[in-house]
């Protein structure tokens, strides 16, 4: 790996929520506030995550329990939030996420991070709706800071048009609805209904314990995952993208719930997985 800027997380929660008529950050899915959900999801992929807020939001309890980056420029809007983060940590790239993406999944984030091109201003998904970049589920590189400042100085404030005009690295979407955002009470009601009917079968809580080389490469001894993987093989692929595991799966065995398992055994919520690299006892 050549040296490229590390990625931190930035959850945008400075919006006025005008059309929703209530604070979007506090909307709940499956009993969890969507800001907390987005924050926890980002944290599973990048080590340091912040919440982007306006100056008048720093005492709001929904936001204040997370590390904050306060807007350093006037005018509001997502570009100000992104510029403020780039100014605060000039050597860091930011995984920027809107807080109102209830269908975002770990697989979507893993794929975005895996597809990152640090030589561009940003890496973003191509919208399934209009083919334009999705700026609020994207990795923004440090090099974009000056161009963003110029863009705003010229009177623009749309991050999507910025990426369209500045050759962002575009990633093809897998799931057409993963980046649907929620702006009105009607959309919220529909999203909650869809979430409640789909969350249980599609997303599973899986615990992974790491040993030896895997522990060192994952940078942790265990983690609790919300995953769409259906088999240990899919889970290894998903985690391999995220943690950059060096060993191909054919060199490993896998254990599920404390016993050797087939790589294609269906996963069930609550399963405990251990990836077993080549052993060397004796």
């Amino acid at each position: 790996m050549n040296a490229q800027p590390p990625v931190h997380g930035l959850i945008l929660a400075g919006g006025a929520s005008t059309r929703m008529r209530r604070d979007k950050a506090a909307l709940e899915y499956g009993g969890e506030g969507q800001l907390d959900r987005a924050y926890a999801m980002a944290q599973r992929h990048v080590p340091d995550v912040f919440v982007s807020v306006r100056a008048d939001q720093i005492d709001d309890p929904v936001r204040a329990r997370h590390p904050l980056i306060v807007d350093a420029y006037t005018g509001g809007g997502p570009i100000v939030g992104i510029r403020s983060a780039l100014a605060r940590r000039p050597a860091v790239a930011w995984l920027v996420l809107a807080c109102d993406l209830p269908f975002l999944s770990d697989a979507v984030l893993a794929r975005l991070l895996h597809s990152r091109d640090p030589a561009r201003f940003a890496t973003a998904y191509r919208s399934a709706h209009d083919g334009l970049p999705e700026p609020l589920c994207a990795i923004w590189e440090p090099a974009a800071a000056d161009a963003l400042a110029r863009w705003q100085a010229e009177g623009h404030d749309c991050p999507r048009r910025f990426l369209d005009n500045h050759r962002a690295m575009l990633v093809e979407p897998v799931d057409g609805h993963a980046l649907d955002n929620i702006n009105t009470p009607e959309e919220y009601a529909r999203a909650r209904a869809a979430f409640d009917s789909s969350a249980a079968p599609d997303h599973m809580q899986i615990k992974v314990h790491y040993y030896a080389l895997m522990r060192e490469q994952a940078g942790r001894s265990d983690e609790l995952l919300d995953t769409v993987a259906t088999t240990p093989a899919e889970l290894y692929r998903e985690l391999g993208d995220r943690h950059r595991f060096s060993l191909p799966p054919e060199r490993l065995k896998v254990a599920v719930n404390g016993e050797f398992s087939d790589w294609l055994r269906p996963l069930r919520s609550g399963d405990v997985i251990v990836f077993i690299p080549p052993v060397a006892g004796g």
Binding site: H209, Y211, A212, L213, R215, S246, L247, E250, R251, K253, A255, G258, E259, F260, V274, I276, P277, P278, V279, A280, G281, G282
Partner: protein, 160 residues
Amino acid sequence: MMRFRFTASAIDTESARRELLDGGAGGYVSFEGWVRDHNEGLAVRRLEYEAFVDLAVKEGERILAEAMRRSPVRRAMCVHRVGGLAIGDLAVWVGVSAVHRGEAFDACRYIIDEVKHRVPIWKKEHYVNGDSGWVNCERCAAGSNHARAPARSLAHRAHD
């Protein structure tokens, strides 16, 4: 009684041996695996063992049961170290008592061979030159000529 165990402190071979005493046994064989000061052409300074204990104990017990099915062994045990070890330390101990010496030798050999290939235990070597690496996981992945052949054969064994 667990016949396959881990310990984070020095293995007490004398008390382990006593657990194998049996009036019907005519012989006893033990094997001691020691930490060697070199491996694959590199000078080793110290090493660490790490185990996935839950599954390692289950697999170790299975190996001991297999050894006892294959030959008429009276008792068999294996104790493996985890944690940091220095050159010369005892890393693994296998003991078998049997009616006749032949079965004791065979079973002891079977147990240590299977433990090395099947039980989820990992060894990190720290070399005199400052490098370190997980044996069978890293040097072969990096394409080292010397490490490649044995690592491959081990990988195949591990997937039997």
